[in-house]
Symmetry: C2
Subunit: 276 residues, 2 copies
Amino acid sequence: MESEKEFLSGYKLSDYERPSVTTDVAAFMIRPQENDNYRRNPENKLSLLLIKRGRHPYKDMWALPGGFLQPDETIEDCALREISEETNVTPASIMPVGVFSEPGRDPRGWIISHAYASVISEDSVEQVGMDDASDAQWFDVDFDRTESGEHQLTLTCKDITLTALLTEESTRFGRTSFVIKDSGSLAFDHARIIATALSALRSAAKDYDTILDFLPEEFTLTAFQKVQETIMNVTFLPANFRRMVSSYVSETGGYKRGSGHRPAKLYRRSDRKTNS
Amino acid sequence: MESEKEFLSGYKLSDYERPSVTTDVAAFMIRPQENDNYRRNPENKLSLLLIKRGRHPYKDMWALPGGFLQPDETIEDCALREISEETNVTPASIMPVGVFSEPGRDPRGWIISHAYASVISEDSVEQVGMDDASDAQWFDVDFDRTESGEHQLTLTCKDITLTALLTEESTRFGRTSFVIKDSGSLAFDHARIIATALSALRSAAKDYDTILDFLPEEFTLTAFQKVQETIMNVTFLPANFRRMVSSYVSETGGYKRGSGHRPAKLYRRSDRKTNS
DNA sequence: CAAATAGTGTCTCTAAGACAATATCAC
DNA sequence: GTGATATTGTCTTAGAGACACTATTTG
């Protein structure tokens, strides 16, 4: 009887055709808006990192950062590497959004894409700084349902506005997937990926643990609340938010001062409740 | 300037090495236990479909059904096809569990696996029937945390018992991933995939919409409740369960009779609430 | 009729939401 | 002190859980 070792030494994996495997990353940031009043805390907007394509196909259109999977990394490593290459920030956490594998989705051939979403803390990106003339830019995100039941995705960066139109395809396991009706200068099927990522992120943001995955080591409760509010596009009364998250966080003893008003206690994530 | 069409005609996708891409499916069934009393409704156990491997590597060990992605299908089609080939049942819905892409996870070479979980309704499988001597068998599932904090996965089918030991790796986005400490006669990293799938399924089963995705067109509320209870390994008071799901279902007008007690109304899923 | 599940009504109590009031800093 | 946010307390109310009770079938 043939041993496993003998079998493997003679084994060739070439019988099947193989796809190219990529990741595409929807990297979001909670971006404070410009402010007139030095005392008032800034409003926040959700923004998304896009890259202007320098070559065919979809030359000069905007796309999610992404790249090919390498043999020495996991698919999640690959996604983290792509964010890091574009922003110089490695997020603590990255959320799988879905696998996009429709035949014909990429004109270059058989390419399946693994979509991830992440929320990067504003401070870390500030430090890196980004060139205004760069191919990589942060776009403000608007994603709403129109009266006709379609969904409109609007991405704005200074004088550039990208608008895509989509319809809901199905909702399963808390995630809605979409079909593109008008791709609006977004490359590939990336309008679809962005819409799916946004829907997945909004759904996941109901869970405080998910938000905490995206926060830095130390944070104020107001920052915590703003992240959830900005992602979900809702508002909560601070008193209630604080009560809700109280079991998820503990004080570090530190304070965040110098904002022109009462300083805020700094918190860290407290030990997670074992889920039965 | 080169046009997109010209570019693509000269484009070769061969610069990058490509992995083989597979799906592995954790197909669960809610299986009624044998019963002494003709009147009493049967207890239910969660069982999982495994295939005995007929060739190397891991010859004669048990593995999840799975197969290679083909160029004319999506990754989800591929997963559905695999279930269908093994059980002759195509489930309405299939839940993505994760992508397993650690270098070296498969001795045959660079192979990344897309794991899916599904719950198949008992009736449809009953009709198909399965050979006792077949390579495909349903195993009763036990998955619990030991006092030492490890997790023990026990799969039982008649006189066969497979036992794997795992530890928690991380919990993100409502899903816990595991590391194998002892694989216990399960092929590849499938102990890990099964543990992750179970954890994802239990977490997803909190949502009634998810349970409904796995139910047949018409069902009784008791059946609905049993599916949730069996997956989550908990029990609820019928009165409360009924109140909770009342907005998710509507009566068909039909009844399920002949069980030795009061007949149960049949329900179907009612129109889904638009989420915001 | 007996045994079993199907299905309803209602009490209690927790916890989410609203809102008022106080605390503390930078300028 | 003024203007802003930070933080705490408490009232109200919706909803989850417990439990008692009724309804309806098959053997």
